[in-house]
């Protein structure tokens, strides 16, 4: 009996290490493919080079870095406030029945594949922008709007948790002092939930940066630094997705290197959030 139990425990331990092992494998293999070219070209010229023409030995990813940054900031600017507002709605304002409808609806939004978002973007949003605002339609703006919608579930659910974690007594004290519910929310609850809401926004940002399919369908994929919201651009993820299908040799290595940049950035982001969120959870 005891020997069998010992074996089972070891087997389960091996299984439990699968997540960490996978993560390590991902890091190792992606780095192994991408790091050599980054070192050969020089980190500076890779990250800050203006020109991306892999077939002509030009490996600068600056245009994509700018593209990713603009799109992500745009997504945060649109999805962040809307998401926090919705989470406040769900946590504080919505009556039970309404919340019971809205919450699953938001989860459903999270389940819609990104290609569907991209498709709706390209058939509806892009022409809308082209005809009523300007530019070719395929633009940073289109991508920012789509991404803003896509990060809503993430922002809403984590913000909602943060708001609901604020002790009820805070709100009651504020109301007892004569605040309107809205004042209680803005002056007491939201500040108290600030770490959690920040985490929600950071995680939303991580999601936006990592998003691929929806973005490449609406952003135009022009390898140029965008100068306005209406310009087409290209993101780091888009670069990989568009060219991976036919890249080989150095070109492929460069795409992996792009992946390395993405991976490192998101890992750092996630680790920071996890450490801070973890500490907050322990403290409370």
């Amino acid at each position: 009996m005891k020997a069998k139990e010992w074996l089972i425990e070891r087997a389960l331990l091996l299984m439990a290490l699968s997540a960490v092992t996978s993560l390590a494998l991902i890091a190792i293999f992606v780095l192994a493919q991408g790091l050599p070219i980054m070192l050969r070209e020089g980190l500076g010229s890779f990250l800050l080079g203006h020109r991306w023409a892999p077939t002509k030995h030009a490996f600068g990813i600056l245009p994509m870095m700018v593209g990713s940054t603009c799109v992500t900031l745009g997504a945060l600017a649109l999805g962040g406030p809307l998401g926090v507002a919705c989470s406040v709605f769900l946590a504080e304002v919505a009556p039970r029945r309404v919340a019971d409808v809205v919450r699953p609806a938001i989860q459903l939004l999270a389940g819609i594949p990104s290609v569907v978002f991209g498709f709706v973007g390209i058939t509806v949003l892009v022409p809308l922008i082209r005809n009523h605002i300007g530019g070719p339609g395929l633009s940073v703006l289109a991508a920012a709007i789509i991404l803003g919608v896509m990060i809503l579930p993430t922002v809403i659910s984590i913000s909602q948790d943060a708001i609901e974690a604020v002790p009820r007594t805070y709100k009651e004290a504020a109301l007892a002092l004569g605040c309107t519910p809205w004042q209680a929310i803005t002056r007491v609850i939201l500040p108290a939930a600030r770490p959690g809401i920040t985490a929600a926004l950071v995680l939303g940002m991580g999601r936006a940066i990592g998003e691929t399919m929806a973005v490449i369908m609406v952003i135009g994929n022009a390898v140029k630094i965008p100068h306005s919201l209406l310009d087409p651009a290209r993101t780091l993820t888009g670069s990989i997705a568009m060219e991976m299908g036919y890249a080989s040799g150095e070109h492929r290595e460069a795409l992996f290197a792009t992946g390395v940049v993405l991976f490192v950035f998101i890992m750092v982001l996630n680790t920071i959030v996890n450490l801070r969120l973890g500490r907050r959870r322990e403290a409370s």
Partner: protein, 279 residues
């Protein structure tokens, strides 16, 4: 010093909040509505059961349905035991706190990796290094790694929710840890665990970037684990990107969305049953 009556601000803010929620719902309804309205008419039995013709401009999407099914099944067959096993280990066996923390941290990080990176990894690891080629197996294994954190998290939650008294009773009767786990804990946690699996299915079905570079884009009906295949999501993407057929694209999207709607509803229903049982 207050120029605007706080009551007025409160009312305005309430309206604003309701509008926000309404906006989010409206966007959701619009997207689903658009896809279903334009796509459902194209979804005929022929569409579902026939093979694609002319690169997908005509015919049906049957091979992609089969491909999606195969790839998702492989992913679940691999990720479920690993995920549930991890959850069991973390809750019932882990003695050293640090090891458990490392495992959880690994899972959290894995959950944050973007799907394109999974695509890159799956390509270089499964397709090239392990020489599995573009195949159901490559795609399924890549997806397995991707959904592993989802299953792990929900399984752990479900197992933790099992009342401690059940375990105490089992141990007091001389059961070993494994007997307690298999005969009492896991059966009691089953609805929650299944919810996690259902959620993982939802993610797998909608995934594109990870499967495009691992399962491939072949339109042929997959016949074995090593056959290349195209999932519905990938097919939809290609149709849309190449502008091959708007109706067929919408049709594929409609099938995808209906499938995901069904999966989500199932998951929600299971979660309600799970909550009811533990309360």
């Amino acid at each position: 010093m207050r120029r605007v009556n706080p009551e007025v601000t409160h009312r305005a803010a309430s309206v604003g909040l309701w509008l926000s929620a309404g906006l989010a719902l409206a966007v959701l309804a619009y997207i689903i509505g658009l896809v279903l309205v334009r796509g459902l008419p194209a979804v005929t039995p022929h569409f579902l059961l026939a093979s694609p013709e002319r690169m997908g401009r005509a015919g049906g999407i049957f091979p992609t349905i089969v491909g999606t099914l195969f790839v998702t099944t492989v992913a679940l067959l691999v990720a479920t035991p690993l995920g549930v096993g991890t959850a069991i280990y973390l809750t019932e066996y882990a003695r050293i706190g640090r090891l458990a923390a490392v495992i959880r941290f690994g899972a959290e990080c894995l959950a944050g990796v973007p799907s394109i990176i999974f695509g890159l990894f799956g390509f270089i690891f499964f397709v090239i290094t392990l020489q599995l080629g573009w195949s159901v197996l490559s795609g399924g294994l890549t997806l397995a790694v991707m959904v592993l954190p989802t299953i792990m998290r929900t399984a752990e939650e479900a197992i933790k929710a099992v009342p401690a008294s059940y375990r105490e009773v089992s141990y007091s009767m001389g059961a070993t840890t494994w007997q307690t786990v298999t005969r009492v804990v896991v059966p009691a946690a089953l609805p929650g665990i299944v919810t996690g699996i259902v959620l993982a299915v939802g993610r797998s079905v909608g995934e594109t970037a990870a499967t495009l570079f691992t399962a491939g884009a072949s339109l042929r009906l997959p016949t074995s684990l090593l056959s290349p295949t195209r999932t519905m999501a990938v097919h939809f993407y290609i149709l849309a990107r190449e502008g091959l057929s708007e109706t067929h694209a919408y049709g594929t999207a409609a099938v995808l969305v209906v499938l995901i709607l069904a999966i989500n509803t199932l998951a929600n229903w299971l979660m309600l049953r799970f909550r009811a049982k533990t309360q």
